[in-house]
């Protein structure tokens, strides 16, 4: 059976004056209907770029320079913009990181939700409003009728993110890409929003690509995950497996640095060093300068992403 979304050897390049910068290199993954997947990594690892690449919305001077993105059996990475617009916000919706910045401050939320429907459906105002209200109820906005004529600044951060989620639901998309949807919110709201997303994916049979640096959230919400480092996937597989038995030393480090079992006052684990700048990725394994168990081969040869014993894919030379 073919997958709902297939990303194959995706490469994204930023054509800068100082030369090309490869932001994403050889990234492949698949997503099935109703499946939830997490993409994890530090800032600058290329996870957001991956998300934007799927809907072909990378800001200039970036561009998809290689690979294929197949959605519903159709190659979409090379579609002209007018065709791509029929998919964006319609079949594949996106939720952004900061709900305070995502809604246009000078239009009511009613306007901003209705226009999405008008862009994708030939629909009367009355019917469109009905759908908008239905979706607002679905994300638990109280008395949505009154809310339509309000402006974004009249809502709290959590409420705005709900509105954005409701907006992304309007067209019953097959996939929602959520780019750090809870990073800008406080912790109690974070949990609410994640629960809501999970609940909606279940009830609407939507696929979810959750881009985050929060391993905790990923392990709660997703079925499978990919860990990105310096523009590449270095480990991917079932979430439960990766979280319980990580293979790549970077993933191990990420899991070890979660504030889970520590007593108060104890120091959190930290992976030494920083992720390299994309212009100065070291030869061999990109992680080798920070790796605690590295061997000679690690700084010479780049490890391929291969299946390991536990069933996950990992890019590491070392056996275990």
């Amino acid at each position: 059976m073919s997958h709902l979304l297939e990303v194959e050897k995706l490469e994204v390049k930023f054509a800068l004056r100082s030369g090309d910068l490869i932001a994403i290199n050889d990234v492949s993954f698949t997503l099935d209907q109703g499946e939830r997947m997490g993409i994890v990594g530090e800032s600058g690892a290329g996870k957001s770029v991956t998300g934007f690449a799927i809907i072909n919305l990378i800001s200039k001077p970036g561009l998809i320079s290689g690979g294929r993105i197949i959605f519903n059996g159709r190659e979409i990475s090379s579609l002209p913009d007018s065709e791509m617009r029929k998919i964006r916000g319609n079949r594949i919706s996106m939720i952004f990181q900061d709900p305070m910045m995502t809604l246009n401050p000078v239009f009511t939320i009613g306007t901003q939700m209705l226009e999405t429907l008008y862009a994708h459906r030939d629909i009367s105002r009355r019917d469109a409003e009905k759908i908008v209200l239905e979706k607002l109820r679905k994300v638990h906005i109280p008395s949505p009728e009154k809310r339509l004529s309000q402006y974004p600044h009249e809502f709290s951060g959590g409420m705005r993110q709900r509105i954005i989620i409701a907006t992304s639901l309007l067209t019953n998309p097959a996939i929602i890409i959520a780019d750090e949807p809870t990073t800008a919110l406080d912790v109690t709201i974070q949990a609410e929003i994640m629960d809501l997303l999970q609940e909606l994916c279940d009830s609407e049979k939507m696929g979810l690509i959750l881009i985050t640096h929060d391993l905790g959230v990923v392990s709660q919400v997703t079925e499978k995950m990919a860990v990105m480092y310096a523009g590449k996937i270095i480990e991917s597989g079932k979430t439960s497996q990766i979280v319980s038995r990580p293979v790549h030393p970077y993933t191990m480090g990420l899991i070890k640095s979660l504030p889970g079992v520590l007593k108060p006052g104890e120091k959190l684990y930290q992976i030494p060093g920083m992720m390299p700048n994309l212009t100065e990725i070291p030869p061999g394994c990109a992680f080798n300068p920070r790796c605690e168990i590295k061997e000679d081969i690690c700084s010479r040869e780049e490890p391929p992403l291969v299946q390991k014993e536990s069933g996950v894919l990992a890019a590491c030379h070392l056996k275990n």
Binding site: R85, G89, P105, T116, A119, H153, E154, T167
Partner: protein
Amino acid sequence: MFAFIVRRITQALFVMLIISMIGFAIKNKIGDPVRDLVGERVTPAEREQLRDKLGLNDPFFTQYSRFLKNALQGDLGHSFFYKKPALSVIVAKAPATIELVLGAAFIIILVSLPLGVYTALRPRSFFSRMVMGFSTLGVSIPVFLTAIMLIYIFGVQLNWLPSYGRGETVDIFGNGWWQSGFLTRDGLLHLILPCFALASIMLPLFIRLIRSEMMEVLETEYIKYAWAKGLNPMRIWLVHAFKNTLLPVVTVFGVQIGIMFAFTILTETVFQWQGMGYMFLEAVERSDISLLIAYLIVVGSVFVIVNTVVDIIYGFINPTVRIAGRT
């Protein structure tokens, strides 16, 4: 909204009070009404007597409150040249200037909006680069030079457009006060060159302002989100981005319209345009202090009124301002 408007108007009144005080201080220190009233032969003692009678030896604030009281009743002093109340001299000259400023503002809006938006959307295109080049040039050429150049090219060499006076005008209210050039072909032709000359200072500024505001807005998250919603580019540019671009531009426009009233002095002089600016320069030559002060106060109030109106309009298009006014 109501509270917001009331607050704005209170502020405007306060500014007016300060303008009147400055105007009065100038008049008090520079002008000598006694000299205007009497001849050479009057002795210093008699002059002093006259001063007492006219209240010119009263303390500053007593005189100022008298001046303010008169000003509030529409009496801004007497022009000794025209032998008429200064205010009525100015009011008679105002329509010409207002039409000039309106025409220039119209040109600025009509030209700067499309050019500003286009150069923001296609910053690298050849046309955008040309527009930006010309606007740099435009900013740096003083208005009287532009005016003379326009007259030379379109009035003298090509002989396409009239270069002085207002041409044929129509009396709008039937009492001879507002002679409008907007309603006749000849009047409109006479407006073209002066309006372009006056617009030439502000136009490059506005193209640049709109361009930079628009470019900034295009980089925001909500525009990116609008793209992610799959909206039509025209809707994203002309509705989402444009409205946000306009917010700061409207404010600046208000200030600049006020400033344009002041710039009419140069334009009107070059084009022999019988408006307030031309009158002002004549008043300077004749040392007609009362008229000068009246001009200062009238232009000051125009400035304040325009800005207040613009602020209120801004409150209508920017929802966050309205909220601030409610609390």
